[in-house]
Symmetry: C2
Subunit: 336 residues, 2 copies
Amino acid sequence: MGKHHADIAEEGDRVAAPIVDGGHVIGVDIGGTNLRLALADTAGKVLGRWSTSTSGVVDAHTIVGLVAGGVSSLVEQCSIDPTTLRAIAAGAPGVTNVDTGVVIATSYLMGWRDVPLRDLFEAALGIPAAVDNDVNLAAIGESRIGAARHAPNFVFLAIGTGVGAGIMLDHKLFRGHGWTAGEIGYMLVPGVSEAASEEGMPGAFEAMVGGEGIKAQWRTAWSASATSLPHDLVATRIFDHALQGEPLALATLTQSARTLAYGILNMALMLDCPLFILGGTVGVHPALGEATRAILKQRSAQVAPVIMPSTLGADAQLIGAIRFALDTARERASIL
Amino acid sequence: MGKHHADIAEEGDRVAAPIVDGGHVIGVDIGGTNLRLALADTAGKVLGRWSTSTSGVVDAHTIVGLVAGGVSSLVEQCSIDPTTLRAIAAGAPGVTNVDTGVVIATSYLMGWRDVPLRDLFEAALGIPAAVDNDVNLAAIGESRIGAARHAPNFVFLAIGTGVGAGIMLDHKLFRGHGWTAGEIGYMLVPGVSEAASEEGMPGAFEAMVGGEGIKAQWRTAWSASATSLPHDLVATRIFDHALQGEPLALATLTQSARTLAYGILNMALMLDCPLFILGGTVGVHPALGEATRAILKQRSAQVAPVIMPSTLGADAQLIGAIRFALDTARERASIL
């Protein structure tokens, strides 16, 4: 926690004038397993954090109720006047219409369809609310105080259980006409399955690069004669063993890194994008970044994008949410 | 010619008010084999055309000289007062900095590097000039009066000798931070060669989808026992035979269409783009569009972009150039 607090305090907020002194905002990261909240001042400095498990929780109203409880806890924990809360912003793990505040669809795990999340927050909390896709918020976080600080053009790749991209073009998030820009899980590159994926199932690219996919690849390749490692291993553990030279782990890593490198190459060509930030639990693993960089280097005649790990790590979404809440507070203040 | 003239006359110019009545602009399409000019009035109506061969001509000053001669011919041919010329805009077959008017690089055929084409035109002709990549201008043409008329988001795919994409996002051309957005010739999709291409050589995607690449694929697959068709055939002739069911031609078409479909799928995912216009001599062939559409349809669980042929055909670049010249004339008029 200390490191990120320091970053935020150092950076302050240079982009726009602070809103009413003494104001506060709430950032929310709605994940598949955890719900995380942070309360920050108008300089973006995090004053308190709160989290709870969301395992088994799929109902949006329940999530909003948990958030409301978390906000109360944070207000108490930080000893602030609740009337100083200016806005709340949340990252949702799905396709989100930022204009209407509706989460159009999440993955099969949560199964949300057209949830008016912004309105639910505003009704429950009585303050301005905003919602966006969580990967987009992570890209905002990295662009303000992270690895892509002040970079006008970059792609944030969230590689956790699955894969998603937040695309920043000329200092602005590019969300697409149907809010699905960067949904690259189904991208087709050499080496992935050409079979059409079923609706809601992991895409061909994700099956090679996402954490769940890597686990499955490992299990398929595994045999007792090929490795002394266990049959069940998470992606980051496989990558740990790859760093130590374990052959099957290394082969699994290389396959993921090659797929990722090809995907980055395609995005770099199409978007003319010079910088890719690897985030998410799997994405920040140094073995993946290094192997991906090595494969891209061999092809550098065409494009040579820079690959960097996220510096905000697991905090990227939450810090992006705080920044988005600050923007929302300013916007609403100037409208009202 | 008649058809396009009619289109232009019908559409007029609804986007912006006409500049000074009686004014004229010049559009230029600089191709590898032909240089084409058109003179238009302020409504965008083409009043005259002029063209010449550029085979063997690679020097930029020579091209500018040819253009100057063409402009004089057009002025005479159309019986207009040369002082009514308000602007000239040209599409160059390469990476072009629209802000500075410099052609940064063209393919190995012309070999241009950092050619200040806009300044050369202004010096030679004494009127405001503008330059852009030719595929971008074709996208402008299609967006104003062609297949993508008024579509806010679409990709124009120019498939001729090689392959390039003009990307329109929210009614604006997306050119990229280094002016190379849409240079998809090196895109990697299942089925293409994974070997790193050499600088200046056709990319893996282009080798399957571009006219030169298709010709080469045909020659590689050809044997006297496999087909009664000749060893040397251009892509459009191969596609003609595919429409008639010739097996080797059909296999060649299917391979190109599958590669193209995968590329379109990747772009549609990344950009959240619903519309793709196929242009260029190879791209407008009905067999390619139909086969590509059929392959995408099988995968429609993910994304279902609409594939349409260019309606401006070989005129797309030139009409885009005229529109760009009109924009340039308006812009300069309001600045001066």
